[in-house]
Amino acid sequence: METSNPYFSPFVLPFVLGAIFLLGICVWKFVRWFKHFDRLQRAIIRKNLLSWKIIPALWEMFREGILHVRIWRKNLMLGYMHSSIALGWFMLILVGFIESHMTPASSHPFWMAIFYRFFITTHQTFPGAQVLTFIMELMLIYVLSGILLAVVKKIYSRILGMKKTTKHILIDRFAKAFLWLIFPLRLLSEVLAASRFQNGGFFTGFLGDLIPPSNEYFLLLSWTLYSCALCGFFVTLPFSRYMHIFSELLLIYFRKMGVREKSERTGYTMYELNACSRCGMCIDNCPLNKELGHNDVQSVYFLRNLRQKKSPIRVADDCLMCQRCASDCPVNIDLMAIRQQERNKHEMDTADNYGYLDTVQPFNAIGRVGYFGGCMSHLTPGVPEAMKAIFEAAGQKYWYMDEDRTMCCGRPLLQQGFNRQAADLRRKLTEMINKSKITMLITSCPICYQSFKKEYKLRIPVIHHTEYIAMLLKTGRIKVRKDDVRTVYHDPCELGRGCGIYKEPREVLKATTHLVKAKQEKEDSLCCGINLGDTLLDIDQQTLIRNAAFQNLMYKHPDQIATACPMCKKAFAHASEFPVKDIAEIVRENLK
């Protein structure tokens, strides 16, 4: 080898080999996953590869892959911890690279940036040298403070606002040990170098002055250990959670190009699985963890199982599909779609079972709007009654599609992976809707709403009754008076996180009652427990989840609970001593 090269010493070898290994494995994995993209996904990428979309993509890659803005927003300490290691290290590499290339030298091997202070033993005088040294020192302190926080989090996570942290597997622990060693070793190496060569910056130079000049033996030993720690981290990285560092960047890029999850696993899913940093932010708020102590089903474990190619059916099934974890995930992984993919795999029976629905006769409702109460609203007859009164007050002709008997929209089947059966129901309902010639479909059940909106390909607008009422109020088609009952609004999972409807229900409630806040609301609201996503829970477990959601609503001691989902209404009705009403019922009471 180039023994004559003044910028080579055998201790750089572990680092160099580790880096080559890392690069090789990453490229191999990324190419393999990319090959498994489906045709549509690839077409999207080809179309957008060099379009203007690349600019927001690059910005988001920097913002979320390096600055971790979403984590900052959730929790300042965690944000600091994650970004210090990411941004700090990124800067050390970037500024180190600039520094080494600015330095007049016979050659600039790529490891020079990493082991700069070993090879460059004098203070440099090129323009900006001092500034670069200063930044390098600052970034080292920044990273070290982040590592310190990570150690504190390991010992006492509550200081950083986390009740439970991820239970890691062996490879993750190894990788983490190497990661935690890298920067203290770098500090030690630079301090020893500073004590011997007087080439330190304000921090390492200061520390170097405190100790006697180190001998060559210790110096080499320290730099070797630093190189080995880097090597250890690089070799474990592709098989550990730290694969997220690179996967996340590519994921963000593909997502910005417009690629989305499919109903089956594709190469894109592999990017998503690997983009999970196992940060554990999806654990604390999962109702199954908090209320029931089911502590191996949360998204972090679910994704890890998939990455390890084991996927117990129980884990895929034991989930309320409440989407709380998805709103907590700083990487914005499409957690629900991935869980659904796993559920789709155990579709058991593909026969057509709903032939009996063909007895339903088409109805001509030309010029009217359609109203679909949904199965559950038949158990809360007050809701469709209120809607009828509101339609009448607005002078709106309507057709109550499922007044005497109700066909399920198909979403509960879909969520359990019975895709063919759900498609049967969709076909029948679509036929009914198309033949009736209604101009708009209004639903009371958020599950049906999400279903009609996302799964059906209807040619007419689909809106939830809260949106409809908000529209009637805005256009003055109904008039209401405002009472002063202190009312708290419960965001149904399927309406809020599922369809992003937060504004309209609140507008309507503000116009009709005195709206007070819940402790956690909107994206952070809690599941009422009886949602249809989980088929493994029994009533006692659902009740525990419901109680937690109820307590959350009691934050400002309201006198009334309002919701916009017949199921949530049913859930809370059993828990509450005071009225639980649907928004439609409140509006009906206050009609002028």
């Binding site: 009996y356 339903v360 158990l379």
Partner: protein
């Protein structure tokens, strides 16, 4: 020649429990313990969405299952839409959707 009295008598049906295979029932009861709490009140059947279109009868399915009469279950179970109304009305808090899902796993063969 038989006289039409306007009603008929159901054929006698005797189940010999000694010849029944209860293993599947036990499997079900183990998977969803609340199954045993049923008092056969029929509320689930009265509210059932599928029942409104067809003769599908979830209580009957449960009763047949308890008697070890599994033959017709697979075909019948396919009619359930999994909508969950039954679960909400059951006064004994049976986890009916889990029961139906488990039954599908046990009785519906491809």
């Amino acid at each position: 020649m038989s006289v039409n009295f306007g009603y008929s008598i159901a054929p006698t049906r005797a189940i010999n429990y000694d010849n029944c295979d209860f293993s599947k029932l036990h499997e079900l009861e183990q998977a969803v313990p609340s199954f045993k709490r049923c008092i056969n009140c029929g509320a689930c059947t009265a509210t059932c969405s599928a029942q409104q279109f067809t003769s599908f009868n979830i209580r009957k399915i449960k009763t047949l299952c308890m008697d070890g009469q599994y033959e017709s279950l697979g075909k019948e179970l396919k009619k359930c839409m999994l909508c969950g109304k039954c679960t909400l009305v059951c006064p004994r808090g049976l986890a009916l959707r889990p029961i139906i899902m488990t039954m599908r796993k046990i009785f519906v063969t491809k």
